[in-house]
């Protein structure tokens, strides 16, 4: 599968010269299977660019939302394929105990926040609430579980026909409540089973280790904890993701350098850069 990072920023789109290299668009990752299956992981502002690359010959697109915070859905209304009547669009998102996924999405995709209502979109939309066990989407097998982040939030594990695994945990705080992380086995760690042995792990790394103590419970990880989680999960390649809006490109370089020097992870690490593509 080919995995392209269309938006790497967390919380708020952050355009400008200081963030031009790692990118200012919020979370969106495009996944293209060998058979042409198209998955969109989250619908942050990065989805707009991805939508422009999807050929009109594509008949189905699956959008996998980890949660419904604005930085993960704000681009949805600007995803051009939604305006194609011949396109089947499946939107997968976390279940809530009281309000359906459709109702929660419509809070954004309806006036006054957005001029077009979800029901007015010309494409053929089907909504699916997750977690719902393992599902087959084209050549992929996709599983999800709830993870540690405020509000219903899932992570995804995507396995292709060759057995390659991509794990996507863009907003994740596995260290919450742990005095020393990681202190527990993988089975007792949020997101652990999703990430176990993954070929590529895209994981939250919003804060520096120094910033994290002031943000405990916000649902995000430090670079250091992202590296520790990757080690615990024995992933092959970690992509630290969901950069804090206040971090410039220079800051991210420095924070990554410091965390790598301290942690010395055994897996490969490539900080998420908007536009980067990984083939696994």
């Amino acid at each position: 599968m080919d995995v392209t990072l269309w938006g790497t920023r967390g919380s708020l789109a952050t355009p400008g010269a200081a963030t031009a290299r790692y990118g200012g668009n919020t979370s969106c990752v495009g996944v293209i299977g060998r058979d042409g299956t198209v998955l969109v992981l989250d619908a942050g502002t990065g989805i707009r660019g991805f939508g422009m690359t999807i050929d009109t010959s594509v008949r189905r697109v699956d959008i996998l939302l980890t949660h419904l915070h604005m930085d993960h859905i704000q681009g949805l209304g600007f995803f051009a394929p939604l305006f194609r009547a011949d396109l089947e669009v499946h939107i997968w998102g976390p279940v809530s105990s009281h309000i359906s996924l459709r109702e929660r999405l419509m809070r954004y995709l309806s006036p006054p926040l957005f001029p077009v209502s979800l029901r007015e979109l010309p494409c053929m939309i089907t909504l699916h609430e997750v977690p719902c066990g393992e599902v087959a989407i084209g050549e992929f097998r996709v599983s999800s579980t709830l993870v540690c982040h405020p509000g219903p939030t899932v992570g995804y594990r995507i396995t292709d026909a060759q057995g390659s695994v991509l794990t996507y945990l863009p907003d994740h705080e596995p260290a919450l409540g742990s005095s020393v992380f990681p202190s527990l086995p993988l089975a007792w760690t949020s997101g652990g089973t999703l990430a176990a042995g993954a070929d590529l792990l895209i994981h939250d790394s919003q804060f520096s280790a120094a910033e994290y103590p002031a943000h405990i419970g916000w649902g995000h990880s430090s670079f250091k904890d992202a590296l520790a989680f990757a080690e615990l999960s024995q992933v092959k390649h970690l992509v630290p993701f969901h950069h804090d809006p206040s971090h410039t490109d220079v800051d991210i370089d420095r924070l990554m350098h410091e965390a790598m020097a301290e942690s010395r992870p055994s897996c490969r690490v490539t900080t998420a850069l908007e536009g980067a593509t990984f083939r696994i």
Partner: protein, 129 residues
């Protein structure tokens, strides 16, 4: 190797780790999957030593009687009642582990229910009377 835990169970354990109240956590089959450090005094053993235990094993370690000294079988104790009925239970009882002293405790147990109504297990807290 323990099986993968749901986020509800993981967070319940994290909570138990952060409080001074004895807490005990079971899965939906009443297997004991965690008890915190304050609860180790009740068990008379550290969790690191016992690890997870099936229902029959951990419930047999305790003798429990009500305030009138009538024996309380495992299924009638708070955790068993919570898992069977799906509602919180609170009761006082006398408990002891084999060879230990009797402790007069008030036990409150409640179910851990997911977004779709699925029962993940139960948690109980112990107060010395």
């Amino acid at each position: 190797m323990t099986s993968a835990k749901s986020i509800q169970i993981i967070l319940a354990r994290q909570l138990a780790n952060c409080v001074a109240t004895p807490m005990l956590l079971v899965d939906d089959q009443n297997a004991l999957i965690y008890y915190n450090e304050p609860a180790e005094a009740i068990f008379n053993q550290r969790f690191d030593e016992t690890g997870e235990m099936p229902a029959a094993e951990w419930t047999s370690r305790f003798t429990a009687v009500d305030d009138d000294r009538n024996p309380i079988p495992p299924n009638d104790r708070p955790m068993g009642r919570v898992l069977a009925g799906g509602t919180p239970v609170s009761q006082s009882m006398w408990m002891r582990v084999s060879g230990g002293d009797w402790r007069h405790l008030h036990v409150t147990a409640f179910p851990l229910v997911g977004e779709k109504g699925q029962l993940f297990g139960a948690m109980s807290i112990f107060w010395a009377i």
